[in-house]
Symmetry: C2
DNA sequence: GTTTTTACTAAACACTGTTCAGTAACTTTG
DNA sequence: CAAAGTTACTGAACAGTGTTTAGTAAAAAC
């Protein structure tokens, strides 16, 4: 039953986005009363957590191809490229993971957090591998990882939350590509 | 009357944040009925636009000290520093300006947009001045500006939307500082 | 066959944004 | 001055949220 509810929530989220998702629409889709949902999920936040987990899993799957790249520098680049690609292709998922205000209070206890942290750790480890291989002059792995992440996240969130209106729609993706290339260049001389 | 409503909205927003702000709470504070508000503002979005303008003005004021710096490179650095500083000090304003999903549809017509664009133009012009002064090897002003903006915005939004839980609270500001220094270093060799 | 447990829901509550019919006071007009 | 019109405002409602509670019908256990 939990699966049924979550699956319906998933579908509605994909169809109508965040705003179109509400308890009554889920209930209608699974042909149960709204009250029934509360027998299986404490509140709407819990459904959100579960959806965030789906998003985290989708993100992990999207990044998976980078895992198998031997060379740490190439792996880092591909990881970053795929990260941005995921955000641009699945703005709703990205939004849910990194831009939603709502339910962060006890997220640390959730599977979603574990999954997200695993992906993040992989990223940091790749940066560490680059540091170990003397790809950078700097050895401050944490700051390097954070800096690169900020840039990628900044790009995606400006896009997702539509703060790129000063650029015509058709140049936005191109600009993101150029900026990504630029940060790679910058990182090379770090 | 419009001023009265907006001033109340402003206060409530500062006190209770985005979520505590609703029509009835504004009405209560100014001691009018909720319906009255609709005589002066079309809907809640219009009040939002007005608040966004306040936020944009607050941001401009915060960045003002950078304007008078002669040296373009120093000006750019100080501008960036103040930008991040504004975001960390006034997360609610920053949120309203760059992270709120809601009312972006017709924002281009709003004063807020004009004000925000002016600030943004100043930023791009400063980058252009650096390019003209051969501070960078690259001459792609647009991409440089966008890249720097993405990094700053990424830092602030990860902070504002509380996606830095993997770092202990006390290191977050420090990490931001280090990352800012790092992007400056990176930009120097751009 | 009676009792207990399970699975579910209708109806309500409290809270949103928003609208509309109506009212009381002030202004204009004959 | 009285009638008509205009202005400023509101009570009450509507529709849409998340959520709770009392109750019911069916299945399971005894």
């Amino acid at each position: 039953m939990r699966r049924l509810i979550l699956s319906a929530a998933h579908d509605i989220f994909k169809e109508k986005g965040y705003d179109g998702l509400n308890i009554r629409s889920i209930a209608e889709r699974i042909e149960y009363s709204p009250a029934t949902i509360y027998l299986y999920y404490k509140d709407k936040n819990e459904i959100f957590y579960a959806l965030q987990y789906e998003a985290a899993a989708a993100k992990r799957d999207h990044l998976l191809p980078a895992l198998s790249i031997e060379d740490p520098w190439k792996r880092l680049i591909e990881f970053g490229r795929l990260y941005v690609d995921f955000g641009l292709k699945h703005p709703d998922w990205y939004d849910l993971l990194f831009l939603t205000r709502a339910p962060m209070e006890h997220i640390e206890n959730q599977q979603c957090w574990t999954l997200g942290m695993a992906t993040h750790s992989f990223f940091v480890e790749t940066v560490q591998a680059c540091v170990d291989a003397r790809f950078f002059k700097s050895t401050d792995t944490e700051t390097i990882a954070y800096t690169l992440w900020c840039h990628a996240h900044g790009m995606v969130s400006l896009f997702v939350r539509e703060r790129m209106r000063m650029y015509p729609p058709e140049v936005r993706a191109e600009l993101a590509k150029k900026s990504f290339a630029m940060i790679v260049k910058m990182a090379e001389s770090l």
